[in-house]
């Protein structure tokens, strides 16, 4: 779906290698549910998401954050083949979960912000650019089975 230089591949692996999925996943998903409250519509069975504190303390939100980040791991490990890697996940989100695909971009942007907060100045503009290219490809692959 996209061409990756060796430098880009190693940047993405390096960034991902420093991300603790169990920490960042819950932070990112929780932040999406707080900053874009309409996304809560997809998580009706998760229990109390009525306040920011409830969301960040909700164990189901945390568990699902880890699931989502775990799926990103597949993309990092299959960078030459992201479209095929996400074919069935895209179909599930399109045909069973009925998730508006705009949400993929929203989650990608919030994940970028959470990673930036963790890395600080080490998340340079150049590293951000490469990371966001990766996010764009992941979002496109997740959207690919919607039509």
């Amino acid at each position: 779906m996209a061409d990756w230089t060796d430098a880009e591949k190693s940047t993405i692996s390096a960034v991902w290698g420093q991300v603790d999925i169990n920490e960042v996943g819950p932070l990112a998903l929780g932040r999406v549910l707080i900053v874009y409250p309409w996304t809560q519509r997809y998580f009706g069975s998760f229990g109390d998401v009525s306040t920011a504190a409830a969301i960040m303390g909700n164990p189901k939100v945390a568990a699902h954050g880890k699931v989502v980040c775990g799926a990103l791991d597949k993309a990092v490990k299959n960078m030459g083949n992201i479209l095929a890697t996400y074919k069935s996940l895209s179909e599930t989100h399109a045909n069973k979960l009925f998730v508006d695909p705009d949400n993929f971009r929203v989650l990608a942007d919030v994940l970028t912000i959470v990673i930036a907060a963790k890395f600080g100045a080490a998340f340079t503009p150049e590293i951000q650019a490469t990371w966001q290219k990766f996010m764009k490809v992941v979002v496109a692959a997740m959207s690919s089975r919607y039509f």
Binding site: G30, V35, A52, D109, I113, P125, Q128
Partner: protein, 143 residues
């Protein structure tokens, strides 16, 4: 999605912390936008150097952030307060208003980097709403 009284007070309080570093934040956000979203370079084609940290980027980043800082004081009437800037962007600069969202995202990334503890989810939503309202006001005169 209009700004509530709580949004406005959260933004004002947070901007109290940001304003000391406003120039740095503005320069960095602009540099990040030009690097991560190269299509935005089209609006700055007259500059000799579009890299992060270059003189024109630093100077213009400070100008942008200064205007945003002013807008914090104009939250009760963003459309009126930004009318002249809207004319400028619409008819002179002719910036596609889709780019306001892109710059807003890079401002949020920069704020998260410089204020990791203060940029909580509650601050994030208020600042995101403020930047969206500002962007709408900036696009108000386009047609």
């Amino acid at each position: 999605m209009s700004l509530t009284a709580k949004d406005k007070s959260v933004v004002k309080a947070f901007w109290g912390k940001v304003s000391g570093k406003a120039d740095v934040v503005g320069a960095e956000a602009l540099g990040r936008m030009l690097t991560a979203y190269p299509q935005t370079k089209t609006y700055f084609s007259k500059w000799a150097d579009l890299s992060p940290g270059s003189d024109p980027v630093k100077k213009h980043g400070a100008v942008i952030m200064g205007a945003i800082g002013n807008a914090v004081g104009l939250m009760d009437n963003l459309v009126g307060g930004l009318s002249a800037l809207s004319d400028l962007h619409a008819f002179t600069l002719r910036v596609d208003p889709g780019n306001f969202k892109i710059l807003s995202h890079n401002i949020l990334v920069t704020l998260a980097i410089h204020f990791p503890r203060d940029f909580t989810p509650e601050v994030h939503i208020a600042v995101d709403k403020f930047l969206a309202a500002l962007s709408a006001a900036l696009a108000d005169k386009y047609r």
